[in-house]
């Protein structure tokens, strides 16, 4: 058998193996489509994206609320000082606790 024939045979084997590996994928895909599994996975991914978007919106709303509370607390602190309350009697502002995630 010549070298060219060997190369041809190897190429044919690669093509055959590739073709054979496609069959289970095609069967699985068609099965998934018929069982609505593909649709379920799509919906699940959509809901994951939706959940992430909701979490982001909630974090934005909380941050906005926190800023407004900080402004309000600052005003109260100013009013207390204006009314003559000593600075050491005014409770100190709680410190931001850094976690590993937001450090």
């Amino acid at each position: 058998m010549s070298m060219e024939a060997w190369v041809t045979a190897v190429t044919a084997v690669i093509a055959a193996l590739g073709g054979a590996s496609l069959i289970p994928k095609i069967v699985d895909g068609i099965k998934a489509m018929r069982d609505n599994r593909a649709r379920e996975e799509k919906d699940e991914n959509r809901s994951l994206l939706g959940r992430a978007a909701n979490a982001e919106r909630r974090a934005d709303r909380e941050a906005e609320y926190r800023r407004r509370v900080e402004v309000w607390a600052g005003r109260l602190e100013y009013m207390l000082a204006q009314l003559g309350v000593p600075a050491d009697k005014i409770p100190t502002k709680p410190e931001w606790v850094r976690s590993k995630e937001n450090a």
Partner: protein
């Protein structure tokens, strides 16, 4: 909204990656069609195993390229996986002829072709694996 903008919006997120993937499939399909009609006939196949291989690879490449492009636009992950396997097989089919040419002719330029083939196959493998990850799932 213009037609182009509407077409781009149809493509699922992450859009930049999926557009690049569609371009990759379009290039494969175009190269495949050109090879299938005999417009491309590299020396390393015609002088070793014969020109039939490039026509076969061209047909397979164009099938993989067209089906892959459609799969990304439609968000059909399982069809895209099949397209990736088809494309991978077609590139790998060229390797034996390229290696034979490299060792029999000592033409150093063929090693560039072999490197490009390996790069193409690995990039397809990366896409195949990334479909498993939710953030790169091309579903819409």
């Amino acid at each position: 909204m213009s037609g182009v903008a509407r077409a781009v919006r149809m493509i699922s997120e992450p859009r930049a990656i999926n557009i690049a993937q569609i371009i990759l499939y379009a290039i494969a399909a175009t190269a495949g069609l050109a090879a299938a009609v005999g417009a491309l006939n590299p020396l390393f196949t015609s002088t070793t195993v014969g020109s039939w291989i490039i026509v076969t690879v061209g047909v397979i490449l164009s099938i993989g390229g067209f089906s892959g492009g459609y799969a990304v636009i439609a968000g059909l992950w399982w069809v895209e996986r099949i397209s990736l396997i088809i494309l991978g097989v077609s590139w790998i089919m060229l390797l034996p002829a390229a290696l034979f040419f490299a060792f029999s002719t000592h033409n150093s330029a063929i090693w560039l072709v072999i490197a490009l083939l390996c790069t193409a196959v690995l990039s397809l493998f990366i896409r195949y694996r990334r479909i498993d990850w939710a953030y790169l799932d091309p579903t819409r």
